[in-house]
């Protein structure tokens, strides 16, 4: 067999496998699917992205609001646990990495630095999520997610209990613990898995030189949330008060709090389905320094609180099999954060509050419940730098990703997806030596599974 013949034969084999498998029977948190006997597609546009039915289920405290919600009705052998991990192959390229380009200076011992492009690729695996959640009793729900990074180090991603439907009203649900903020476009249920596409830049944006890490909407936070929704979940709102600790335990930054508010309304546009628009705001304060003892910060002595805020709008629109989500954010930090200056120290001349605007649009095209194509374009633009004279575009971000997920099986017992994705990220003026644009791109193929 000649080389072109082998290539053709391989292509035919791949195509045959694809078509054979894609005509198999369609068949997600499988712990919930197992409990209720519903396929993952019932609650997910494509898992893990929730559809409207899934949102109602979540907003009701992981309950379908029927007589089978309480665990007492489950078979005693049922245990509400799901594990998720993704073995993968990926390729990462960074266009400008600082490298030594000569021998060390005999006086300073420092080598001259240059920049070079570095590409790495190979087989790998993701971190592990252990998701255990559900109901302890009717209208008493919980979620516990011990999560490990790739090297096996564990932390608690989510730890909460929720009192659902207090006074028999869907408008009164109170959650307590560490939880994901009520982001309708949830980063925890994002389709992307690649290094540059696997998070929303806007949910973690910190301007260059800024010291405020407490305004990260995408990070799970410690606090208390009140969520209310209409019976059909078309109208929903939430208000949360959280510790300004970015979810870190042990009273890091004790005594400071942040508020997060979100509200949305869905409109039934007949055959097009439900279209949702909403708004959100995060308003908080966090310390800029703490007392020290022998130069070591004294726990619990955080001082010099300064403020920050994020606000914006979002939407999720369905046009037949195409759904398009968009998200806008305006953000600002106090000048002390912006210049990393403790509040008890005078600000540098001309220092001002850094502000930015960002937007992303994320279309998904659901070919069928077992195949989804996805894309995201995201842009973050600084509108005011903290220090005059800083290049106006320093830290601006452009991020694009494309991919597809194919779910060869879809049952109410487990989830399995072949994931393919390319993503590209550019940060203006962020290269380590020449302060020019830093670009990263990722190619990712993986088998995402949970059970």
């Amino acid at each position: 067999m000649t080389s072109p013949q082998r290539s053709l034969a391989f292509a035919v084999l791949l195509a045959s496998l694809f078509f054979c498998c894609s005509v198999q029977d369609a068949h997600a948190i499988p712990a919930f699917a197992r409990k209720y006997g519903l396929r993952c597609s019932a609650c997910h546009v494509a898992w893990p992205v929730l559809n409207d039915f899934g949102w109602r289920f979540k907003d009701n405290g992981y309950q379908l609001m029927n007589d089978r919600d309480a665990p007492i009705w489950q078979n005693p052998s049922y245990f509400p646990i799901t594990l998720r991990i993704t073995p993968n192959w990926h390729r990462e390229n960074t266009n400008k990495v600082a490298v030594d380009i000569g021998p060390p200076d005999p006086v300073t011992g420092i080598s001259p630095q240059g920049e070079t492009s570095i590409t790495q690729h190979g087989f790998d695996h993701s971190g592990l999520d252990i998701l255990t959640g559900g109901t302890l009793e009717k209208n008493l729900s919980f979620l516990l997610v011990p999560s490990a990074i790739e090297t096996g180090e564990f932390h608690f991603e989510s730890v909460w209990v929720r009192l659902d439907n207090l006074f028999k009203s869907p408008w009164l649900n109170v959650k307590f613990g560490k939880f994901e903020l009520d982001n309708f476009l949830s980063e925890k249920r994002i389709l992307n898995l690649s290094a540059n596409g696997g998070s929303y830049q806007l949910y973690h944006f910190i301007p260059v030189g800024d010291s405020n890490m407490f305004g990260q909407i995408g990070d799970n936070q410690l606090g208390l949330e009140w969520l209310g929704h209409s019976f059909n979940d078309h109208t929903r709102f939430s208000a949360a008060v959280i510790s300004s600790s970015d979810g870190s335990p042990d009273l890091v930054n004790a005594n400071t709090y942040t508020g997060f508010f979100s509200a949305s309304q869905a409109f039934d546009l007949g055959g097009l389905g439900l279209q949702r628009v909403g708004g959100y705001a995060m308003i908080g304060q966090a310390p800029t320094y703490s007392l020290t003892s022998q130069g070591v910060p004294v726990p619990g002595s955080s001082l010099g609180n300064e403020s920050f805020h994020r606000e914006g709008v979002f939407g999720d629109f369905y046009i037949s099999r195409l759904d398009v989500a968009f998200y806008y954010q305006h953000g600002s930090d106090d000048a002390h954060f912006g210049t990393a200056t403790p509040a008890n120290v005078p600000l540098p001349d001309g220092a001002r509050a850094p502000t930015w605007n960002g937007f992303f649009v994320e279309p998904h095209f659901t070919v069928n419940p077992q195949l989804v194509l996805f894309h995201r374009s995201e842009w973050v633009r600084m509108s005011q730098q903290a220090l005059p004279g800083t290049p106006s575009d320093l830290g601006d971000i452009d991020n694009y990703s494309f991919g597809f997920r194919w779910y060869p099986i879809m049952t109410s017992r487990a989830g399995f997806a072949f994931h393919s994705e390319y993503s590209w990220l550019r940060q203006r003026g962020m290269s380590p030596v020449t302060a020019t644009d830093l670009t990263n791109n990722s190619v990712f193929f993986g088998f995402d599974f949970d059970f």
Partner: protein, 291 residues
Amino acid sequence: MRTKLLRWSLFLGAAAMLALLGVSSAQVTQQQQEGEMGVESHIGKLTGRASAAKTNYRRYCVGCHGEKGDGNGENAPWIDPKPRDFTLATFKCRSTPTGTLPTDEDLFNTIGRGLDNSNMPQWLPLSKQNRADMVAYVKHFSPRWKTEKPGTPIQVPHEPEVSADRIKAGLQLFQKMECWKCHGPEGHGDGPSAPTLTDSKDRPIPPYDFTEGHRFKCGQTDEDLYKIFMTGLDGTPMPSFADNLNPEQAWDLVFYLRTLQPMHTKEKDIAKQLGLKPIEPNAPATPPADK
């Protein structure tokens, strides 16, 4: 040589015939499917189309009701009661007389409301159009919709004011109609016939336990309860009492059944004031006053 040629000709001819037969039968099946996909539903001003619900059925319903709508989805072995077999077009929740097809609105309401005491959830987050389309899709599974029209919905007269007399009359009807034989003297669903009950597919089925349920299989209002025993739950042992009860008596029974439920009801308050005791199964029934 000639024999070889003849054999090849025969073989190719037979293969061509088989291929032709295959193509024609595939065409017939496709035409049939396309025809069935043309099924519509009409709910108010909404027109539902089966063809528009194919993907949603695969997304939401197929796990229980199965690709063929026969109730044999992958979850069917594990859930109780079993998923509805749409190919039989026999439905519990109807506004139409027993034995007849339900209206499109009946199916639409069932999809939105869900079915208590079963795995069927409320599909309210689906848009009304999506639900109307799904009604048409459910209908496309059974040929009955081609040959029969839905029954005429029963008339539900205006609900009278509840009174002590009505509740007492309802209790007597509970005894006389032998509701207790399945539902038990106190409504626990533990009557003497309870262990023997089976559905239309010969599978065991427990009677409704009034003392546990806030909602009924087909709704939670007095009117819903009225409809349940005046239309029956087709496919189950629960018959229609339309021929045995007049509307006034049916309302009396509704009021009495409300006294058995676990939540606070005004009927329960009245029963308490009356000191109403559960029926004595073996006591002779006192005929309720004619109305």
